[in-house]
Amino acid sequence: MSKNLRVQTSKFIDETTNISFKFNGKTYYGFKGDTLASALLSNDVHLVGRSFKYHRPRGIMTAGSEEPNAIVQTNNNTALTEPNVRATEIEIYEGLEASSQNCWPSVKFDIGGINNFLSPLLPAGFYYKTFMWPANFWEKYEYVIRHSAGLGKSPKEPDPDIYDHRYIHCDVLVIGAGITGIMAAKTAAKNNLKTLLLDEKTELGGTTIYQDSDHIKINNQSSSAWLENEITELKKLNNLEIKTRTSVAAYHGYNYLLARENLTDHLSNNDKQNKIRQRLLKIRAKKVIVATGSLERPMVFNNNDRPGIMLSSAVKKYADYYGVATGQKNIFFTNNDTAYESAISINNKGIKVEAIVDIRENPNSEFTKEAENLGIKIYRNHTVVDTHGYKKLNNISIMELSKDGQSFANSNIITLDCDCLGMAGGWTPAVHLFTQSGGKLKFRDEDQVFIPNKYPSDQVSVGSCNGDFELDEIINNTSKSLKEFLNINKTDFDNLDVQCPKDKEIRNIWLLPSNKVLGKTKPFVDYQNDATAKDIKLALREGFKSIEHVKRYTTTGMGTDQGKLGNMHALGIIADTAGIKVGELGTTTFRPPYTPLTFGTMVGRNVGEYFDAFRRTPMNDWHIENKAEFENVGQWKRAWYYPQNNETMHDAVQRESKAARDSAGILDASTLGKIDIQGTDASEFLNRVYTNAWSKLAIGKCRYGLMLNEDGMVYDDGVTTRLEENHYIMTTTTGGAANVLGKLEDYLQTEWPELDVYLSSVTDHYATASVCGPNSKKILNKIIPDLDLSDENFPHMSFKNAKIDNIKCRVMRISFTGEHSYEINVQANFGKSLWEKCMDAGQEFKITPYGTETMHLLRAEKGFIIVGQDTDGTMTPIDLQMDWIVSKKKYDFIGKRSLYRSDTMKEDRKQLVGLITDNPSEVLEEGAQIVANTNPTPVEMLGHVTSSYYSPNLNKSIALAVVRGGKNMMGRKLIIAMENKNINVTIVDPVFFDKENVRLNA
């Protein structure tokens, strides 16, 4: 059994509740309230993972979401397993299983560790260089790289957990519930503002809540006791909502923020059942108070990454909050007073502190004095030059610094034994969310920090994220900021007596000197990505200047932790090397999310059938009952074909296509867009939006129209019917309906407001059955016996109002198949009964329901285009050989002028043609490229196949295609170049079937 390093009881840990969990297959115990990290440390487990590139042994470095090393895979279940979970964030629960990532076969014996010895071969930009040269280099390395790269394993099955979304509107959002966040939330809520307080941790109170220094006091109380009281008061306030375990992921413009609330990740597997796991909060806040605190900086020196080396603040938190000693022989390494605070605190708990190595020349505050009084040896003006111990820190070597801090005063090396080294490199304000929102930073030279400068929205940063690091200035400045920001006269915190005798002196050296040449050292800047100071300097030598380029080349800051610890050092080292100030260099962009988000949280409930809305026609149930296969057209579910007796799609479509021409077919055309157009200027309006003339269309007549964009390219098409003098019904393509309506509204409202025209979408109001074929007339006669269907009374391209059993319907005699056919429109509710009526009436004629695939085939036989299939936004009506539909007489219509641009008039534009194959049974692939010959390289591409079918009515393969200059190439032999063969084709007229349109009136 491993050692128990629990040193004292803590009110944050429930020591009465033992929790067992597994790490790398071994069972350990911790207490309720422990994170995986604190529980492992209490069991003396420091080695938790391997680094990304060199596979170096790595330990727990922090106690928060900034953790770069201790990232684990949780859960062995193939659906629930989750990679890249920070051991410092996950709370242990009964049944937790976690394992190290990035190592094989085990964390203690890792084959990839050999990369550590190969590291001279893995410089900055290694991957880029491998991609570039020589070409076959990549192929050789790919296998090895793919196996050793990647962080963790993704789940292999759909996530069974439940996720949720919630919208929240509030007056004030406070991000972070440390001492400033508590002050802010209390002040806002007490001033009658609806307030939301979020914190990523389990407990409120930030670092102050476990502060136990005798030197730091508020109103003569310990700061933690004072804050505890404030929190109690805070929780009594009415208009305040508090959410813990909630991390703000993104801060967008207009104070729109996304946060992830963790609801069950800390519960045992049993208690998790059937509960919402995580919830995405979509927050609109009138005002935002950012109180995100700051992150302690590590120090950059040779071998600064061994297990046992951690942040001084983490050493303190593990002792003070979790009651866990992170080492038995501790040393701190610092450039400011923070480490003394930590050292004194853990020393008072009986945890041995051997020494403090301080790079400052002569630190001399109350804290230094107390440390010395406690018998802690202080090495002033010294730096750590190396560390030893492979899987756990054994000792460190230190040397005295020169005056300028860039080299050494002498060559003496002192070796100090220790198993834990707490680094205190100063503080970096957590300005990530502030900059995400568009905020601009300024650099403060005195202590080398970026702090908020210009706020892009109604927000303010308070506390250490705003560059106030000591308690007295934090409280005074926060209280002042709150009054200004909330426009109030006083807060509860105006006259507090705050004692904080810390010395603010800091000596900043971004890259500490070494007694070895840089090339022989490993001073890590980005732990997770194994980027060292050496890599950054190499990038600069290779000519990279922009910080964004150096970041990508060295991968600094590009891990799952986004370099929260080392980014400032990277900037500092670049600035020092280039001889400029950090402030002039600027920072890299911080992008959402602040901490990784699960996909589940992002999609919430919008999974499976709820992923997107879908639309079904009133006849949908009939299609399902009759075993239709469906295809998605926009959001519509359209019947695609109706297979009978295990037919293949091909066989079904051949049968349906033949039946429609031999006797009768019926299509559900309800999805076509329908726009109701009314007003005294309706005819003039249609004149302007379609290419052909509309003024003379008689009432009761239908006309096909082609709509262009202003650039002259075909946009949509459809049949429009004049119902009354000032009333039309326009049909559009299924997919184009919404856009056509939008475009027409645009012209009406912005270009032609003088026109008296009103548009209304009625697509969903009508159900449409299209009955076609030589027997369609007989079928219609059975359904509507009163209607005179003679060609004289009801010719092709005309319309009649009628009634079926007292139900009003509109009947259009129009055709998209080339057959004699009728479109019957009824109010949507009657759609299914209309359909069934047609089926009953058509039974004696073997009426065959057909789907979209057959519709496509039948219209292709007639050479009718489908906008979006045979056109792609680069085809004019002339290109489509549809010159007949472009009015020469009309002065103007949308797109007209573009048809006379030099480019659109070129003879060698791609033009729509028909293709037949030399071998009539060979069906071309849609999208296949067309060439004239296959010899020279590169071969000139003349065009491509847009529609292709085997026609059962012609007994041969037919295709539509667009071919450069195709209009003048009738009869030309061309080649379809396929991967394994060439197919010989001939250009023909695109109308394959019934060129004389005899069947329309048959």
Binding site: R284, G742, E745, D892, K896
Partner: protein
């Protein structure tokens, strides 16, 4: 996701709206009188301003009305909203 104040409906989320590009580009009344160059100017050329831009918006998933907005493209701040046909306010 910003908030837009439709002059007919009030403040709504951006997802209800459709952007319509630069405002005050009037469709020529007599396109056939224009040279290719003049027509191309109307058809293709846009200022794509970094800074204060006058632009068209449509409350597509609301009242379907078009209107104009004055937006700072550097930070998405909408300085003013005005109806179609109205003169842009001076900012």
């Amino acid at each position: 996701m910003f908030l837009i104040s439709c002059p007919y409906c009030g403040v709504r989320e951006q997802s209800e709206f459709k952007a319509g590009g630069e405002a005050h580009i009037e469709r020529p009344k007599q396109p056939t009188e224009l040279s290719d160059g003049e027509w191309a100017e109307y058809l293709f050329m846009r200022k794509n301003i970094k800074g204060i831009q006058l632009e068209r918006w449509n409350h597509a998933h609301g009242c379907r009305k078009w209107f104009n907005a004055v937006r700072d493209t550097t930070n998405d701040e909408i300085k003013a909203i005005y109806k179609m046909g109205e003169k842009p306010p001076t900012i």
